[in-house]
Amino acid sequence: MIRVEGYEKTYRETVAVRGLSFEVPAGSIVGLVGPNGAGKTTTLRALAGIIPPTRGRLTVAGHDIVQDPIAAKSRLAFIPDEPQLFDVLTVWGHLEFTASVYRVSAFEAEAERLLTQFELTEKRDTIAQELSRGMRQKVAICCAYLHQPEAILFDEPLTGLDPRGIRTLKESIRERAAAGAAVMVSSHLLDLIEDLCSHLLLMHRGQCLFQGTISEAKNKLAELGADASLEDFFFQLTERPT
């Protein structure tokens, strides 16, 4: 569903990502982890079509994000780390606009369902600037889900959510993946990755250090000891001498 081949991103002399290749099959949840500055957000933003890659080919559902951006973006949803909403629009206004962008006809029932799922029904007519950080995040997620995307990219999705919100989001991600969506979750919360994801992609200084299933990562952990955690695995790979 999501395929990245030889992706490279440079800013002047700085190489943010170099030679990254991976694939996210339909129905899988890939955890994207790495230290600060590893290139995770740069990768997600390139996949979302926000920034162009310097080199490489990024496709969503078979559509190249550079060559055929409209088709690729139509099948994609991106939820950034900081929920950015239009201050003067209501919650419903955001959903209405999103439905219009992705040409979702008769969106009302699905929008109502999402509002209920994320406990936003009472906030339906509240303007965005009056919402808390967590509620803004929930609105961004509802908008992202509205057009039933085939590929979903989350950048630090749990920030600001309350325990109920976290549980709802995790459940919804599992549901979407079970329905055939390819999901990528970038997070520093290794517990979340271990709990939620089927695959792991570990990045460091713009390069991929590990990619495979969580169980493959855990098999590697066996070398570290029986009670080693994903955290130990993370430090083992990212802090070893180069």
Binding site: I50, A77, F78, G93, S100
Partner: protein, 547 residues
Amino acid sequence: MFHSALWKLIRLKWRGGFRQFWRSLKTLRGFVQVGFILLMVVLGLGSMVFAGRMQSAAPEVAAGMIEQFRSIAAFAMFAFTTWAMLFSTGEATVFFTASEVAFLFPAPFQRRHLLTYKLLQSLFGLVLLSLFLSLFLARGVLLWIGGFVGGVLTLSFIQLLTMNVAFVRQVLEAKSNVLLRRVLGYSVSVWVLVAVTQMVLNAPSGNFVALASSFRSSPAGRWLLAPFDVFARMIFASDPVSFGISTGLVLLLDAILLAVAYRLDGLSLEAALAISEKLSARIKAAQTKGAWHMFSAPTSQVARRRLPTLPFWNGIGPIVWQRLTTNFRTSLKLFWLLGGAVLLASGMAFTIHRKTPEQPFAAAAAGIGVMVYVSFLICMSLQNDIERVGYLKSLPLRPAAIVLGELLGFVGLLSAVQGTFFLALCGLLPSIAGWLICAAVLSLPLNFLLFGIDKLIFYWYPTRMMKGAPGDFQNAGRQMLFVFLKMLLLGGGLAIVGVAVIPGAMLQSPLLAVIPAAIVLIAECAGLVPLLTYAFHRFDPSVDTPA
């Protein structure tokens, strides 16, 4: 060409703006603030209508005024465009807010949809501004509609030009083409400098119209003003034929720029994003730290600049040091502006003195006027940082020391710059050196008063700048009320100083003028300190400030 969802977004935003407007009317404070801004608009429009009536009563005066407008229009457009480019306001056209980046960039829109959306959004502002301009110039244009359409097309031209320059700059930056960027930048700067030099040397007097005419007739200026001249000819066309020809040319110029913008924008998606992120960061800083931070340089570029540590001075020293260091590291353009103000003010005084050597006070007044104006502009937007007050209150220092430290950094900086200017003026106008030294001495308490009043209003009623949304008349009204209040307080303080100066001025004695003026000013400043201290003490950072 345009996506229906973007129409919907514009419509939803407008609806949201009106909703906000009606909501703001429901509180007494909001009602007063909205009422104030509406009153100002009515007064502005009323004065234009009144001016029109006066002109019809004296057609020969009106004709003279229009002739003046015509002669300076191209120069004024050029000056405005240069300002826009220097201070990157052209970038604002292609600026996407963080929410627009989050929603629109990953959405299935073509890039040109987004550019059209941006241009349409700004078109409303241009139409409104052109409407005001056309009302103002109504008596001098052949057809009112011609003046109005001319205004829209002229402002569009300026906007598209600055936008394209911003694109080119970003593309060159992205491609690391530092050499080409510098060559282009320096070439244009040298060209403008040559034209300005020719203007100053050839101007018959120092007033704006004479300077504009001189610039227009200089060889370098003629080239620079050529495209702007076409617009001036269209707006002030005297017959239908010249109006038609110039309108055709204007449309062609706008169309070319529009085509270039679409072409460049297609090539520079990343450039637009970089512009948006840069401006987002600036706006965020401006909302909390004051409008001046719109022009701040990124901290990383200047983090190595250091100032020597100051003595403790009961806690005043560290605050002054921290303030100066912050400005030194983040507001490079502030220093350029101050230096530029000294040069401009000195240049003005020099030009006027050269033309009218028998009137040294006129030359000095012109220069001082420029300096005071720039000082006031800086003061209005420089110092107030809501987030910073919480930090300052946590420091183990007396509130009076903090308040003084906060003020003295700016006052010292501005007074030093003004001192340099007065020294230069003394060299230029030795016959009134005594008066100039007096003015230099008085500038220190005067600056303290200026910044102190600004700070006092901020502590009493803290507010963030730049939080504008469509229909947010309450915010606009509040900002205008603050400016009005500052002017009122400052005017009151200066009126008392003016009374104290009268005996010295009548006796032609600088000393007798400056001593009572200084005493009054110092007394006013001394009275301000306990007020500021009390206001700082009662400032509650936990209460969210109106934005």
